[in-house]
Structures are given as C-alpha cells and as structure tokens.
C-alpha cells in the first residue's frame, strides 16, 4: 500500500511523516481515514493544508468517478471485429473497456483469431494495437497475409503495420513490467507467487480498460485439470486457475469442428446469451465467416 512521503504531496516532509508514523499513520489510506483535527495536531500543518493534502491524495490515488450516461456513451462506441457472424454474436463487436479472453484447446486457432482481430482493428484509421507476444511466434508475413486477403490498399496495410506494436516478453514478470510501462506507472517490486503475479496482471489490465477505455484481449488455453470440488471430471476450465477464471468480463471459447471450420461459443458475458455460438472458417487468410 502506498506509504506517505514527499512524493505523495510536497508538504509531507520527512519530519512530518516521521511524526505521523509514530502515531500509526503510515499509508495514504491511514491519512485519509484519520480525523483532520488530529492530523493538524500531529503534523503542525494548518487545518486547511491538511484538508488540501487529503483532497490531493483522493484526486491522485482515488478511483475514477463518472456519471452512468457518460459511461453508456463510451460503451456504445463499439469496435467491430469485421468478422460478420462474430460481430453479430458480440452484438456489434467489442466495447471500449472490455477485458475479453479467447480460450480454446491447442491448435484450435486462438492465435489466428487474435491476429485477425488485431489486423482488422489496426487497419481502421484510429486503431492502435499493442501485441504482447509471450510465445515468440508473431509472424509479420502471417499478419500481413490476413490484411492482403482482405484486399486492403498498400497504404492501409503499411499504416496498419505501423500502428501495430509488437512487444516480445520472455517471462510473466517481463510481461507485467511491459504492460505497466505502457500506462507509465512506476514498476513495483514483484512477488514470485503465481496468484500475486496474476493479481498484478489483472490490476494493470483493469487500469488499461478503466482509465483508457482500451479493449484488452487475452489468449488462454483450457485444461481438464481435476480440482477438488469439481463435480464432473470432464469439465473444462480456463488455464491459470480459479482466480484468473473470474477476471475477464467476457470469455469466448473456440473449438475445432472439422477441417477449417471452428465454432466460437460465448462462455461468459453479462449481456450475451451464454453458450450462443457461431461458426467460422479459419485458415491462412485469418478468420472469416
């Protein structure tokens, strides 16, 4: 939790924070929840100054307050994926601020679907795509091929390639660090325990979706791992465990039907009908309906 120091507010000099620390006011939350009159006595600052510091902390570290009408207007700027049946399934496409996960068994076409979405979004004039490649398998030719197959003009393809930024990461630690740099937040020391690392990942994804209204897409595999409390042993679950399973707002599942035909199911979403599905064709030219 963020500790009180001069970085938080210039008037919190070392002598002041030391006095506060002695009275058990260590973090910013302690400061905000302590009676201002008491703080005035401890710090020697004037009452107005204390209130100002408090307001400043709330503005800098507090949440983002918006009216619902404002948020609805943002949500309605849906970003189409440009795969007709998938857009229909998603009622228009992805909405700003959505955290969406694509799940599926290996070789079901998760990466190709992700490439297609990225290519279609990047080829829009206002689309910028950040692609975090954890498997080191981003292939420019494959990516370009998807756009070529859609008969985009050379200029559009060049612009799209320019607005697609690839970031190769070798470890989960690096991925979180890279994502943090994206939102220019100072990287904190990180833990090696899995749940905490996932929590860090979830936090930075939330930050991207809430503060910047970015659409974040994660690609994940599924497992049939048996966990205690699981009633049906054939139940499939997304990888990364119970904690991560609850994080994405939307989860789509892609499975192989036959040949190049794939089925995309809605696994989880607040608005869409669960288990509704569409079928798509998947091959070198990406995903088409």
């Amino acid at each position: 939790m963020a500790k009180l120091n001069a970085d938080v507010h210039p008037s919190l000099l070392e002598t002041v924070t030391e006095n506060l620390r002695r009275r058990n006011v260590v973090t910013i939350v302690d400061f905000v929840s302590t009676d201002p009159i008491k703080l005035t006595n401890i710090t020697g600052l004037s009452h107005t100054d204390v209130l100002q510091v408090k307001q400043y902390i709330l503005k800098k570290f507090g949440g983002i307050k918006k009216n619902a009408t404002q948020l609805l207007a943002i949500e309605r700027n849906v970003i189409p994926i440009s795969v007709t049946c998938l857009d229909e399934l998603l009622r228009g496409g992805l909405y700003p601020g959505q955290l969406c996960e694509l799940c599926g068994p290996s070789a079901s076409g998760k990466t190709q679907l992700c490439f297609t979405i990225a290519a279609n979004v990047a080829s829009r004039s206002d689309g910028i795509v950040w692609y975090f490649d954890t498997k080191k398998d981003f292939c420019r030719l494959r990516y370009e091929g998807i756009m070529r197959a859609r008969n985009f003009e050379q200029k559009i393809i060049e612009d799209a390639l320019r607005s697609t930024k690839i970031y190769q990461t070798r470890s989960s630690h690096e991925l979180i660090k890279a994502l943090r740099q994206l939102v220019t937040r100072n990287a904190q020391q990180s833990d090696n325990e899995t749940t905490y690392e996932l929590e860090d990942l979830a936090e930075v994804c939330r930050f991207l979706t809430m503060e910047y209204q970015a659409v974040v897409i994660t690609v994940n595999i599924i497992t049939r791992w048996n966990s205690p409390g699981q009633t049906d042993s054939t139940d499939i679950i997304p990888a990364l465990g119970k904690y991560w399973a609850r994080i994405p707002a939307t989860r789509l599942m892609i499975t192989r039907l036959h040949g190049e035909i794939r089925k995309i199911n809605v696994w989880k979403d607040l608005r869409l009908i669960e288990n509704s599905s569409c079928t798509v064709t998947i091959n070198d030219i990406g995903v088409t309906s």
């Binding site: 910013i28 905000v32 929840s33 749940t195 936090e203 399973a245 989880k268 607040l270 009908i273 669960e274």
Partner: protein, 268 residues
C-alpha cells in the same frame, strides 16, 4: 450536569426529511427493506450475481411514474463501485428497457422509442459509477463515501461489484481470511453510511465454505458480519434453472429463477 454534544452531520441527518423506504424486489423482499440494510449476493461464477445487482440498480434509479404510467421504480440515486469492470451500463439500460416496456404493456399503451430512451437517459443520470483498479483506491473511495452522500441527498443505494476483487492484494501485505477482509470493508462502509439512509448491496464470490449451514449458525453469521439479507445463488438441478436461497434475520426461503435478456425472472 452532562451535555449531549452532537456533530453537524448528526444534526443534519436528524433534520433531513423522513427517508423513504425502498423495495428493490417484490419477490425477494416481501416488505420494504429497512433503509440501512446490507444485502449480500453470493454465488459461483455465472449464477447471475452481477445481473441481480444491475437489476437492483435499475429499479432504484427508475422513476416511480412517468406521465401517468406506473413504472414502479424508486426514483432515487445510486452509487456503483465497479471493482472488476464487469458491470456494463448497456446491461443496466437493457434491463430498464424491459421494465419500461412491461409497464407500458400493462397499461395497454405502445411506448414510442424516444420515450423509452428519454426515461433511460434520465434515470442513468441518477447513477454515479466509481471505477477502481486496486485495493488502495477502493479503501480511499470507501473512506470518503460520506462526502458523496453529503453532496447528494437522494442517494439510497450503494452497490459494489465485487467486494472480494482485491482480496489477494490485501493478503499480499498481511495474511487474513476472505471473510475477515470482507467484514473489514463492510465496517468502513457502515461507519461512513451510519448517518445516512442507504441500502448497501454487494456481490462476492463463493468462498470455500460448506454449502450446508444450520439455520441457527446462519443467523449467527448474519449478525456477526452485519449483513441483513444473504442471497445465495446456485445452479439448479435442471439446465438453465437456478436457485436463490434468501436468508434474513427472521426468515429463510428458496426461490427458483431463470436468467434471460430481461434479467432474472423468479418462478413462484
């Protein structure tokens, strides 16, 4: 001789006009619920916790009547603390649309699309959404709820989705159980809302608690945590059918329900 001293806030809340009690759901709560109640919605993933929360919000912010048509909303304001980013305004709008259309249908009138949009937009103005990303932000927000309530006297509902969202962040700093963490947050909320007439409703994930609990133990837990109504949602025996177990300090009941585009539908 002793004097009773009173803070300005207490004085204000005494002078405030007599608060209206609200009924967030006719089936779940047979009578109006006390306007200081705490409602907990708990259940496994995909059992409709967030939908139910959205439904409560929709009911709270909709008007009671519109041009002679009884819409049966509470005509009040609400605050939503969105900790996971799962609540979509379009979902709340969708739920309101179906309520408004039903209300018009009962009155045998065909509502023009503009009227529906107008009511929805006006109602959404009653809702303030606070988004947060981490435990720090959540704690700061909770500690300053009093200011929010002071700035708008019409706020009658505080909704949080999901109260356990940052449990692991808090746990990283010190080892504590999920229950202890949730109760801690609830205590902050109660200290902030004590001078106001606000119903608090929050969702939480299923913990590793046994599903079967004796009635006496439930009451005990309810009293200890300060929760007045516990709505335990679970999947039913049939496909697409769910079960809601309602526990309050003086009543226990079970209601079946289904989930559709228009929200949760109770089967009586």
């Amino acid at each position: 001789m002793q004097f009773h001293s009173e803070g300005g806030l207490e004085l204000l809340s005494r002078f405030r006009e007599k608060p209206r009690s609200i009924n967030l759901d006719d089936v779940l709560f047979s009578t109006d619920i006390d306007n200081k109640s705490v409602i907990e919605i708990v259940g496994a993933s995909s059992t409709g916790k967030t939908v139910l929360l959205c439904q409560f919000i929709a009911k709270c912010i909709l008007p009671a009547r519109y041009k002679g048509i009884k819409i049966d909303g509470c005509d009040a304001c609400a605050i939503l603390i969105n900790t996971l980013g799962h609540v979509q305004m379009s979902k709340i709008a969708e739920l309101m649309t179906s309520t408004i259309r039903n209300a018009y249908q009962v009155a045998n009138v065909q509502p023009p699309a503009e009227t529906v949009d107008y009511i929805i937009n006006r109602s959404l103005e009653n809702l303030t959404v606070i988004s947060c990303c981490n435990n720090n932000q959540l704690q700061l927000i909770l500690h300053t709820l009093e200011d929010e309530f002071l700035s708008n006297g019409k706020i009658t509902l505080l909704a949080i989705d999901n109260i356990l969202a940052y449990y692991w962040q808090a746990r990283k700093e010190n080892i504590l159980t999920m229950n202890y963490y949730a109760t801690g947050l609830l205590k902050i909320i109660q200290s902030q809302t004590s001078q106001f007439h606000t119903v608090t409703v929050y969702t939480r994930w299923d913990g590793p608690v046994p599903t079967y609990e004796s009635y006496a133990k439930c009451i005990d837990t309810l009293e200890r945590t300060g929760v007045n109504y516990k709505l335990q949602l679970s999947k039913g025996t049939r496909i697409r059918e769910f079960m809601c177990h309602v526990q309050s300090t003086n009543d226990v009941k079970q209601i079946c329900y289904t989930i559709s585009d228009s929200g949760i539908k109770w089967i009586r």
